[in-house]
Amino acid sequence: MITAGIDVGSLSTKAVIVADGKPVGSGIVLTSPDTEASAANSMNKALQQSGLARNDILHVTGTGYGRINISFADKTTTEIACHAKGANAQNGLVRTILDMGGQDCKAIRCDEQGRVVNFVMNDKCAAGTGRFLERIADLIDCSLEELGPMSLQGVNKHLPISSTCAVFAEEDIRKLIRAGEDVNAILAGAFDSLAIRIQALIDRVGTEETLCFSGGVAKNVGIVTRLEKSLGLKIFIPIDPQIIGAFGAALIGWESMQ
């Protein structure tokens, strides 16, 4: 049986098609103001990759911030349930999921079947979200991908950078740049401050066995390395961390059809 999941996020829209619980195609597009069109575009991309036709799909589950705008979805569900389901399906040992996107950060606790037990999220404050990284990248004029490796080269020195407010952290960074500090050391300080925020969120749900890191920020080696060190465990990162929500949505749809 073929089902699809669509995750309409603040920055990108993801679609995953699964055949009997196994992923067969996925598509990622930027979320445009027309969320309906973005959802359809991501779906078309996923269909192309899987070589299937629209009629082959029996059930579509929508999730993410823009889920209410997907008119062709058969049902909608929260991205929290989808991330727990998707991460647990990729690795059965996963009991904690950290999902970090451009706009928010969630720590989710699930049981052995990928059902949500508890979760906490921060979508009120830019410190502790991917947005903080975007602003730092702008500030020091380099790409998001470069930030992580650079931050690992500057760990010898501890530079104090606010972890409570992204705006004040930027001020701190500007002052340090003016004071002639090394960019890598400044980035190390900024990443440390971000890791403190994420750690606090994870601590509130607790960890056990394996932690899965999903969302775009999971691709950032600077954050992953710091969290592995402070949590004292190996973090599981899916091959494509951005599509875990959509994958979970497709699975939830598939289960509901059985």
């Binding site: 009120k124 947005r131 004040f168 001020e171």
Partner: protein, 264 residues
């Protein structure tokens, strides 16, 4: 007797020169790059020149503000809250409370005869401080000063739901794209700021009127929004620039300090 008060904030340095406890000269300069101590010293010398006073005749200099520890040439460094409370107490009309809004702080203080009795401030977060206005002004292409007048033209009430300054900036950009009028957006920005200030005032309890000091007290739009949101009268000092009140308080404390030492 010549007393000088220096207030080194996150953006400006302010000097007030008192001769026999009467304000004779002031000077405000924006802090740029370079040594803070040099910039502050230049500001200090300019104020003294305006007053026609030679540096050697200064009896006592008090430094305050977040940059006070960098000022080696001052006789003493005193915390901002003591200085601002002393300054506010000197102003007519007497009020029991004051709000000091600067670039990186918003603080509500209960003034007990020139001494701070209780205070509540922002929690190391930029929302509800001047920095929030600074960030919000950028996508609108306005200066913070211009925003005040612009907001008074607003006819439509819209709201900004994000508390965080970073998220609010994105929200403002989408309001611009939705073709909302600039004046309505500006009013919404002030309202959002005012609600933060209101929560600080609420912690204080029953406040009927309060004095507002700091550079942002000069912003009519913000003052009006706080009055509406908090339901209390906001009094902005008219006899001195509200931005200078803390420096004035520093100079006043210096003059009292010298008196005490002389009498001992």
């Amino acid at each position: 007797m010549i007393n000088v008060g220096l207030d080194i904030g996150s953006q400006f340095v302010k000097t007030v020169v008192l001769k026999d406890r009467i304000n004779v000269a002031t000077c405000v300069d924006k802090l740029g790059s370079g040594s803070i101590e040099t910039l502050v010293f230049d500001n200090y010398i300019t104020a003294l020149q305006k007053a026609g006073i030679e540096e050697k005749n200064v009896d006592y200099t008090v430094a305050t503000g977040i940059g006070r520890e960098f000022i080696g040439f001052a006789d003493i460094q005193i915390s901002e809250i003591l200085c601002s409370t002393r300054g506010v107490n000197w102003l007519p009309p007497p009020t029991g409370f004051f709000l000091d809004m600067g670039m990186e702080k918003a603080i509500v203080v209960k003034n007990h005869d020139g001494k701070p009795f209780q205070s509540f401030r922002n929690d190391r977060c930029a929302s509800g401080t001047g920095r929030y206005l600074d960030i919000a002004a950028k996508p609108l292409g306005l200066s913070v000063e211009e925003m005040g007048e612009v907001s008074l033209k607003s006819t439509k009430e819209i709201s900004i739901s994000s508390n965080c300054a970073v998220f609010a900036e994105s929200e403002i950009i989408s309001l611009i794209h939705q073709k909302e009028k600039t004046e309505d957006i500006v009013r919404a920005i002030f309202k959002s700021m005012a609600s933060k200030v209101h929560s600080l005032i609420l912690k204080m309890g029953n406040v009927k009127n309060l004095t507002m000091i700091g550079g942002f007290a000069k912003n009519v739009g913000l003052v009006k929004a706080i009055e509406l949101e908090a339901g209390c009268e906001v009094i902005v000092p008219s006899i001195i620039d509200p931005q200078l009140v803390t420096a004035l308080g520093a100079a006043l404390i210096g003059s009292e300090n010298e008196k005490t030492t002389a009498s001992l």
